[in-house]
Amino acid sequence: MKILVCISNVPDTTTKIKLTADQSAVDLANVQWIINPWDELALTRALELKETSGGKIEKVTVMTVGTQSAEPTMRKALAIGADDAIRVNAEPQDAYFTAQQIAHALKDEHYDIILCGIESSDYNGSAMGNMLSEFMELPAVSSVSNIEIDGDQVKVNREIPGGYEVVEPELPFVAVVQKGIAKEPRIPSMRGIMMARRKPLKVVEPAEAEALTEFVRYEPPKPKAACKMVDADNVEELVELLHNEAKII
């Protein structure tokens, strides 16, 4: 059995986002890049499954669509414990584009379980995983909060309002996972980082693919308006302000 984990290369979540002067793009100078947190948890669960599978899971592969600049992030995934990596050499444009690229690159590959984070922390599009399953004509389970392997059967917990349902999908399938999938991401050890040097990272050229969306302009959120303080005893003034100024009552 083989597991593939799709990895998105995203700015560190503590990054202060700045825009270019014309606001047409995010200024990426001096940004630190990390593995998308949802993908990192998916990778952690994949490694846990492999380690407890008694050899049944032969490898965990990580995959990304990205330029050379995404390679440190892939090396980190290898340092954490992935066995090998694939990078489709293209600048990711939108979910449709990325899903097409991954589907194309996997055309002649076989993975039993494909894990995708439910969203990426940069654009939070939440679309790639399901699009990928459509392009690959595979079943998909979304909002996955746990995966267990029981013999030849894979059991997946899927979050629903008020609880979760247990799904037994046919293999291969795509699991779109959310944060409960693993407790916390693994920290690579120094020895893992050195071993990652020697692990294979395959670069494949992109397919012809189009993006269906275009980023036109970015706007930072408006600064918070000043806060007007009303004395706790002055209910009349509060009601008057809510009625005439805020116009919400």
Partner: protein, 397 residues
């Protein structure tokens, strides 16, 4: 952790680090965030070293990162070692001290001067944290002048007899082994490995420190301890042995101090932007900006110094005097940054809610151990003039 840790990189030094160095940095930073920051203040207040740190540092690979993989290390370069030290000391000097001692003062001498058998016996277990090591050089009567040490080994034919006492030994009360420096019958300094449990070997703890409170410090007392001959480090004779170990440790300290300073600076910068007086953030006042601007200037200089020193060390060209200069400069820098940034926080700065006082108190040890602040200045002085000014005896040597 009051603020997210976003250390300054004013001169874009990140561009001089490899991708691997950055992965190393983020791994150690994540471990410090997850494991150290939630408990370090309490550990320091309670004068306790959380022992689980040893196992976790071993799992992380922070012990002996530059030791070859076949002996349990990671086979990394010296910049990687420096980056690890910076991140650990951002957490606390106690954590960096534990990793410094295990790496530079225990694993390094065994790797450099030890027999193949000693390397295979001790290094993998020291790397994993299964064994804790300590280093005995300083004595009650001999600190800056270790050449006058009184600890002796006497050749008894099939073994040596070790007598003497060592002081200010990081981790001695919890250590399984000690790399000890003692003079032999010919008056030559020799290195040996003493194991806990050997009859006559004790390691009482030194209590009531106002500094490095989250680190265990103690003595090593040897009363007719039988040392098997195979426990002598065969590859070195003379004071050069311990001094080479100190060089490696001082190099790590020069990097580590930057982490303590950036933690203080990062905290003060964010606090000053939030804290308002006279209806404006205190960061808008010139006197606060002066403190922040000077701190950043000094941090940036220190970062450049250790980066260049790291390049030289990787090339095998870093001299002991260059390492002394960096250790001295960077620790003093960190201490001053801790003091100045503490002032930015006003009264809040003296509480354990913020890290400045803890770093400041720790750095009083760091500026004293591994060669005092004064001794490092004399090393530079001797290097540039060719005249040794350590004392009359030294001058006449």
């Amino acid at each position: 952790m009051p603020y997210p840790y976003t250390p300054p990189d004013y001169y874009l030094l990140d561009e001089l680090l490899s991708d691997e160095h950055k992965i190393i940095r983020s791994a150690v930073r994540d471990w410090v965030d997850r494991s150290v920051m939630p408990v370090i203040e309490e550990a320091a207040q309670n004068h306790e070293f959380p022992l689980r740190f040893i196992r976790e540092l071993g799992e992380l690979g922070a012990f002996g990162p530059f030791i070859p993989e076949k002996y349990g290390g990671a086979g990394m370069d010296h910049i990687a070692y420096g980056v690890i030290m910076t991140e650990l000391e951002r957490g606390d000097s106690a954590i960096r001290s534990a990793a410094s001692v295990q790496t530079s003062l225990v694993m390094y001498p065994i790797y450099t001067f030890g027999s193949e058998e000693q390397k295979r016996k001790y290094l993998p277990k020291l790397a994993s944290g299964e064994l804790i090591g300590c280093f005995g050089l300083t004595e009650p009567n001999h600190g800056s002048d270790p050449g006058s040490m009184e600890t002796r080994i006497r050749d008894m034919g099939d073994h040596y007899l070790l007598n003497g006492a060592k002081m200010w030994i990081t981790n001695s009360p919890i250590a399984d082994i000690a790399v000890v420096w003692a003079k032999d019958d010919d008056g030559k300094v020799r290195g040996l490995i003493a194991e806990k449990g050997m009859k006559g070997f004790s390691a009482p703890e030194t209590r009531n420190k106002w500094s490095l409170r989250a680190s265990v410090t103690g003595e090593l007392v040897f009363d007719n301890v039988k040392i098997p001959k195979e426990n002598i480090l065969p590859g070195i004779k003379g004071l050069k042995g311990p001094l080479m170990c100190l060089n490696s440790a001082r190099y790590g300290i020069a990097w580590g101090a930057v982490g303590a300073a950036t933690d203080c600076y990062n905290t003060a910068l964010q606090y000053s932007l939030e804290r308002k007086q006279f209806d404006q953030p205190i960061a808008s006042f010139q006197l606060q900006q002066k403190k922040l601007a000077e701190a950043l200037t000094e941090i940036t200089k220190a970062q450049l110094l250790v980066w260049r020193l790291g390049v030289l060390k990787n090339q095998g060209k870093a001299t002991p005097a260059q390492i002394s200069m960096a250790k001295r400069n960077n620790v003093e820098m960190a201490l001053k940054v801790a003091r100045e940034t503490r002032q930015i926080l006003g009264a809040m700065g003296i509480t354990g809610d913020f890290p400045m006082m803890r770093h400041m108190m720790n750095l009083e040890s760091v500026i004293t151990y591994e060669g005092t602040h004064d001794v490092h200045l004399l090393i530079t002085g001797a290097d540039i003039t060719g005249i040794n000014a350590f004392g009359i005896k030294a001058k006449n040597r």
